[in-house]
């Protein structure tokens, strides 16, 4: 029963995604929305209730919000709207992590993705004036292929999750200790120390690269401190020549 529900929702979802992706014409978007809603309902119906009534309701609400805003992220035409929908996806994900008791991961998701990366993205989008883009830039490439691959990927994940669920149907209860941050930090800085250090070095290299790109445009002989006002420093560096 569950298998058929999931397969049905995947097929319907792929069709909905294909109809919803920006393909250059508006026809079929309402049908896509309808199909998508049915697919979402089937997918949520396939899940077993998770606990007391309000907890289940909260989970369904967060999950539906995350999925709907994720679909909106790729189906809206205006890039700024896409970015805002993506922000909502991140908030939904963070909410789900909170729901599972992973408070640190939830807040870290919001701080890093929503607070830093997405805001920078929004800057670029807004400064690049999205309304002025050509139509071929605002269209989804290979919409049918993308929808099929997305549904297939989701199917693989869901199969894995459901089979793991059948092995251990009872979720282990979390005690106060497993909420703590210290074990996570200890794990990161002992077992995964090299990965953490490598990631840090990569970020540092990116930072140095950004500084190098900016410094390229500064005049060669001017002190770096005054690079915020290039015209002034360029002139004041050779005052005698100016006076002459």
């Amino acid at each position: 029963m569950t298998t058929w529900l999931v397969v049905g929702s995947l097929v319907l979802g792929a069709g909905a995604l294909w109809l919803l992706l920006p393909r250059g014409r508006r026809a079929g978007r309402s049908l896509g929305t309808l199909l998508g809603t049915i697919a979402l309902g089937l997918l949520l119906a396939a899940l077993e209730p998770l606990g007391p009534g309000w907890a289940t309701a909260l989970f369904y609400l967060l999950a539906a919000m995350t999925l709907v805003s994720a679909v909106c992220t790729i189906s809206f035409r205006n890039p700024v709207y896409c970015a805002v929908w993506f922000g909502l996806t991140l908030l939904g994900t963070a909410g789900l992590l909170f729901f599972q008791g992973a408070q640190f991961l939830g807040t870290a998701t919001v701080i890093i993705y929503a607070g830093a990366i997405l805001v920078t993205l929004l800057f670029v989008l807004m400064l690049a004036n999205p309304r002025g883009q050509a139509s071929y830039d605002r269209r989804a490439w290979e919409a049918p292929l993308a929808a099929t691959v997305g549904a297939a990927l989701l199917g693989v994940f869901l199969t894995g999750i459901f089979s793991a669920w059948q092995v251990a149907p009872q979720p282990q209860s979390l005690d106060e200790k497993s909420y703590a941050l210290a074990p996570l930090g200890a794990e990161l800085f002992s077992k995964h120390l090299i990965a953490v250090e490598l990631a840090g070095t990569l970020l540092l290299a990116a930072l140095a690269g950004a500084v190098a790109v900016v410094a390229q445009h500064a005049p060669r002989n001017a002190p770096l401190a005054s690079s915020t006002q290039p015209t002034h420093s360029a002139r004041s560096s050779t005052p005698e020549a100016q006076v002459r």
Partner: protein
Amino acid sequence: MTALVLKSVVLITGLMLAVSYLILLERKVAAWIQDRRGPNRVGIPLTRVRLFGLGQPIADGLKFIFKEEYTPSHVDRAMFLVAPVVILTTALATFAVIPFGSVVPVGGKPEPLVVAPGVNVGILYVFALSSVAVYGVILGGWASNNKYSFLGAMRSSAQLIAYEIPLGLGILGLVLFTGTLRLDTTIELQARSGVWLLLVQPMGFLVFAVAACAEAARLPFDLLECEQELVGGYHTEYAGMKMALFAMAEFLHMLTASVLIVVLYLGGWHFWGLTGSGNLISWPQALLRVAVFWAKVMLVVLAFMVIRWSWPRFRFDQLMNLAWKVMVPLGLVNLVATATVAQFWPQGWRQHPWAVAGIMWAVSLATVALWALVSPVGSQAQQRRGPDEFSMRRVEATS
């Protein structure tokens, strides 16, 4: 569940009332500093009782509610509507993890005065929500479809993002010392030892307070609304209740910053010889703790207001220089010093707050002195100004 609903209702009602009266307080402080009287007319309606203008917030609120909800035709409607909602929601949601007192004895059991008492990452939660609040500013400025609003939104979000780094760096030393990210535990630690963390982390406090002021976008840092340069700011196109949401969010941000400063550095509800430190307390003692807490918060708020009306606004490059060249290095020095003490202290450094405080003060003063010796304040400004453009033109004209 009942306790949760009750606490939320009390907190939100209290915050809304506090915000409206903070606006009055702000105007009174401004009037006091500028040698005026300030709003003093509105009292009880239909009588001649004036009550020092205490009716002013209610009159303002009614005016905001009944004003025409005007939406200009050139705006992006959906985002125009979403922006004030985002900014106020995040400002309010921050208070879910912030303790507004100690505990109250309900049925012989201590009930913590926090809406969400189980949150383990309280400080990070506050930071996460304050980073989401940036969206309200950016979207408001962008949706207005107005160059000046957009400029204001751009530079203010650059400011908010830049100051999140010193904000985080400032408290890292404190978190190392307390070993927790919970706000209530931080207060309990200070109450038990009797040493407020301002004494232990002087440089961290400086960095955090400046960054919190910038995050709240109070006047020396209020580049997001700048009447002289931007007509109004990111909310120029807003009117009526939407404008009121922005104004409320601004004051809520200030309140958040003040509460965080009190909780983290000024001992929360603790006062020596007055409040005790345990969790088993009677009702009068619980109320006394609440009173002490909010008295401290009000003092910090007053300090914020006096700062606002005493300082001119920073230029954008000064703002960025302060963040990246002053606050970030100071925060790093503070973090490294605290970590060094933690590493090389023989055993149990948290049991000796006075000794740690002595070391940290010595390090702070040494850092400032060294900085002053290596790069005196005046040197950078002189170097940048040089022979200025206008005098050079005059030389050209005369020769």
